[in-house]
Amino acid sequence: MADDLVLDTAIRDWVLIPLSVVMVLIGVLRYFVSKLMRTTQVPDAKVVREGQVVLRARNLRAAANFIPAKSFRSRRVYYGNEENGLLHVPKGQAQNAQAQMLSDPNMAMDMMKKNLSMIIPQTLTFAWVNFFFSGFVAAKIPFPLTQRFRSMLQNGIDLSTVDVSYVSSRSWYFLNLFGLRGLFSLILGEENAMDDTQRMMQMGGFGFDASKSLSAEKDSLDIVQHDWALPRLEQRAEAVLRKLVK
């Protein structure tokens, strides 16, 4: 029976605590290493400019009704004309993010560094845990759990008779790997949290396509109906004054 299973205190002293301490230390170390390797990204003038153009065009779209029709039309042409409009993207130049990444070795390098600082320590610690602590129970959680948690808590033990509330050492490693995020954000500062899961997500949405947002902005600018708000405001001003004079 599971109740008979008594865990040696030496396991606590030599497996459970060292494993957690090592995970924390590795996290801290990794943070500093990645800080050293991080290159300060010098923003490209073109990228900055495109961002600002989008911002300005968005302003124009939002507040179009506040300027006279003539001014609005001239601006729209300025942004969207086919020759040298700010929002117009020539067909040949619209390169996709993938090509851009390949053409810019810095970008690929950066990504590789990020990945290296994440993957290498992870494989090493996993190998270390596997080698020394594989296949035995390291801890017991003080409440019972259903069978579904077996794969989560008893990774590396292929016994179906062991109670689910026992945690195998390899599972303890995984729990630490993903669960220490809160601790890291405490000791390393809020934004510096070594967040593996978040990083993995970031890798998916890598690279932002400026030309796409430019042309999207152009399209929405093209369909804006200009309706000068000032005559209405004049009437409102009249109402305001009337109230004031009374």
Binding site: V42, P43, A45, V48, R49, Q52, V53, L55, R56, N59, L60, A62, A63, A64, F66, I67, P68, S71, L230, P231, L233, E234, Q235, R236, A237, E238, V240, L241, R242, L244, V245
Partner: protein, 302 residues
Amino acid sequence: MVGAAEEIQLNRLESQVEHGGGGAWEYLCLVRKLKVRRSEKVLKYGLAILKDPKKRSKLGGEEWTLYEQVSLAAMDCQRLDVAKECINTLQKKFPSSLRVGRLEGMFLEAKGSWADAEKAYSRLLEENPLDQAIHKRKIAMAKAQGNVSSAIELLNKYLETFMADHEAWRELAELYVSLQMYKQAAFCYEELILCQPTIPLYHLAYADVLYTLGGLENLQAAKKYYASTIDLTGGKNVRALYGVCLCSVAINQLSKGRNKEEKDSPDLHSLAAKALVKDYKQRAPTKVSLLTTTLQNMKLLS
């Protein structure tokens, strides 16, 4: 922009510090946060903290921020010796920092050695071509030397890249107005209105520019923008009220003989005149007669 509540808090802290109630550091932090310019006070209290090693070490890493703040204030008060000391300390701590480099450039500016400052900024820009603050310093330098046209040129170049920077647009508009280039100024004010359509100040300035440009169409537009200023300020802005009166007079003169197109708001100007009289009665009773005769001459008040 400084809100009313923050201003009250700032003044309260200032008087507290002045009367020896402590809280100098909090005051300096607030000044920095609100970006207000009270250089004399900052210099006095900041320097007192910096000269006291015990207080200084209590700040920890913030110490360097204080050095920066004090050196800027010292430059503003022409205490160049203090500024130099602060910058030297910072230089020792951060030898290759862009921020300290900027301070050094500003120090050269404060000394009046424009060429050296120019050189320093150009060197910094080579490394960081996209540093907005340095670009702005260069523009300010051109303006300080009285070289408005080159300031405009630089500002235009700056705006080509950072075109969403509405403060730069505002500066450009004011520069154009000072050179009486009203069409260009009007464009800048349009840009400002687009950026922040609810700020009455921009509507007012745009209306001023349109009124100065003249012509029936511009005058009508100017009147509308004065009206929108009235709407946005709740009729509290005297300049806008006067603007409406003057615009309608000028429009009447120009469109004399032709059919009037004043269908939107036929009695806006007379209402504005009445509001003006009421305002004067409340706040400057001695000037009311002056106002009424002027308005009667303009045939706005019967």
